[in-house]
């Protein structure tokens, strides 16, 4: 297998650059690092629901939201291991083609939260190829600075589900203390989105 390019991007720079204004999206994050990425960027002042568990549920939660809110753009930001734990979701999303859903997989090649054990993507697993094989046609692999702006555009295009494989180095996510009260987060999300 062809060796993937080295991981040079720092997630603290790359993730905000790809997402841009978080208020452009309804955002679902996976647990651990991506919750901190999104929380730090949005300060939870937008419309976001950040997981702190339920590993493997982020993409489908975003998909359910995309079905319920077809006029809004929905963004899932999740890690490589979280995504792989529910990888069938890519096939479900590929089969249904929600045009308002984008997924950014922040892949540092490790299970960071549990002690930086090397993950599957560190051993040759290509998530962009998996996403394309699942039927998602707008895909990008992002490994270098000059690819960030294009990825930021791709998640806003809206003519099909989009998948960004953002390969980053092992620098830690930003320090951010999330609201861990999931009921409050759910209610805030609905109040801000639905006025309920």
């Amino acid at each position: 297998m062809e060796q993937a390019s080295p991981r040079v991007l720092d997630r603290k720079h790359a993730v905000p650059k790809i997402i841009g204004d978080p208020n452009d999206f309804l955002i679902i994050s996976g647990l651990a690092g991506t919750g901190k990425d999104v929380g730090h960027l949005s300060q939870e002042a937008g419309i976001q629901f950040l997981m702190t568990g339920a590993m493997g549920a982020a993409c489908m939660t975003g998909f359910g939201l995309a079905l319920a809110q077809p006029e809004r753009r929905v963004l899932v930001v999740t890690g490589d291991a979280e995504l792989l734990m529910g990888v069938g979701a890519l096939a479900t999303i590929g089969a249904e083609q929600p045009s308002n859903l984008a997924i950014v997989c922040v892949d540092n090649g490790h299970n960071g939260e549990t002690g930086y054990q090397p993950s599957h993507t560190n051993k040759g697993v290509d998530l962009e190829m998996i996403a394309r094989g699942a039927g998602i046609q707008i895909t990008r692999t992002v490994s270098t600075e000059d690819q960030l702006d294009d990825a930021s555009r791709a998640i806003r295009e809206g003519n099909g589900p989009a998948f960004i494989w953002a390969r980053v180095n092992t620098d830690p996510p930003p320090v951010y203390k999330r609201n861990l009260d999931a009921v409050e987060c759910k209610l805030l999300f609905r109040r801000r989105l639905l006025g309920q």
């Binding site: 309804l26 679902i28 629901f49 997981m51 568990g53 339920a54 590993m55 493997g56 549920a57 982020a58 993409c59 489908m60 939660t61 975003g62 998909f63 359910g64 939201l65 995309a66 079905l67 319920a68 809110q69 529910g86 069938g88 979701a89 096939a91 479900t92 089969a95 249904e96 999931a182 009921v183 987060c185 759910k186 999300f189 609905r190 989105l193 639905l194 309920q196």
Partner: protein, 172 residues
């Protein structure tokens, strides 16, 4: 399976639509055939095939965040696939309605179905999902109504267990 005297599969679908359910996540099972096909044929509904039942947990949570009602239709074997992700439902008090067609239950002839079938109710209850059994065709609509109300009016997690007394046991 012969046609039931009471057309509970169609009544079940009508009941869910009357309660404004618009998204139907499912892993196909013979017991849910009518529900799945009617959702596919219904222009006001979205029928979403899943690769594994656990996908339905996020689907329902996301639909609720977006202001729509969804249900998850699956066979009892699929309940086991959902266990940890039911954390999401419990921790955020998401409304949750699962329609579970039972296997490994009354009259089952496939031995492989018994382990999960017999563990279905205990598994759901361990994850704080309230279980409502249905054995008789006349009880389908009142039971589904109770589950939907518990979920959407009281933020409860519910499962309607459609027993093999209701749906029959296929010969092996």
């Amino acid at each position: 399976m012969s046609e039931p005297a009471v057309d509970w599969p169609n009544q079940l679908y009508d009941c869910l639509r009357a309660h404004e359910v618009t998204i139907f996540g499912h892993v196909p099972d013979a017991g849910h055939k009518v529900l799945i096909n009617r959702a596919y044929a219904d222009p006001a509904a979205q029928s979403i095939g899943l690769t594994i039942e656990s996908e339905g947990i996020g689907l329902l949570a996301g639909a609720h965040l977006g202001g729509q009602r969804a249900v998850l239709a699956m066979q009892s074997s699929g309940v086991g696939n959902c266990i940890n992700l039911l954390s999401l439902i419990q921790i955020a008090q998401f409304p949750f309605v699962a329609l579970v067609s039972m296997r490994g239950d009354f009259g089952e002839q496939n031995a492989w179905q018994y382990p999960m079938g017999q563990a279905t109710e205990a598994t759901l209850q361990a994850m704080n999902v309230r279980c409502y059994w249905v054995h008789q065709p006349d009880d389908v609509v009142p039971t589904v109504t109770a589950a939907v109300n518990a979920a959407y009016a009281a933020n409860q997690a519910t499962a309607v267990l459609l027993s093999q007394k209701l749906i029959g046991a296929k010969p092996f």
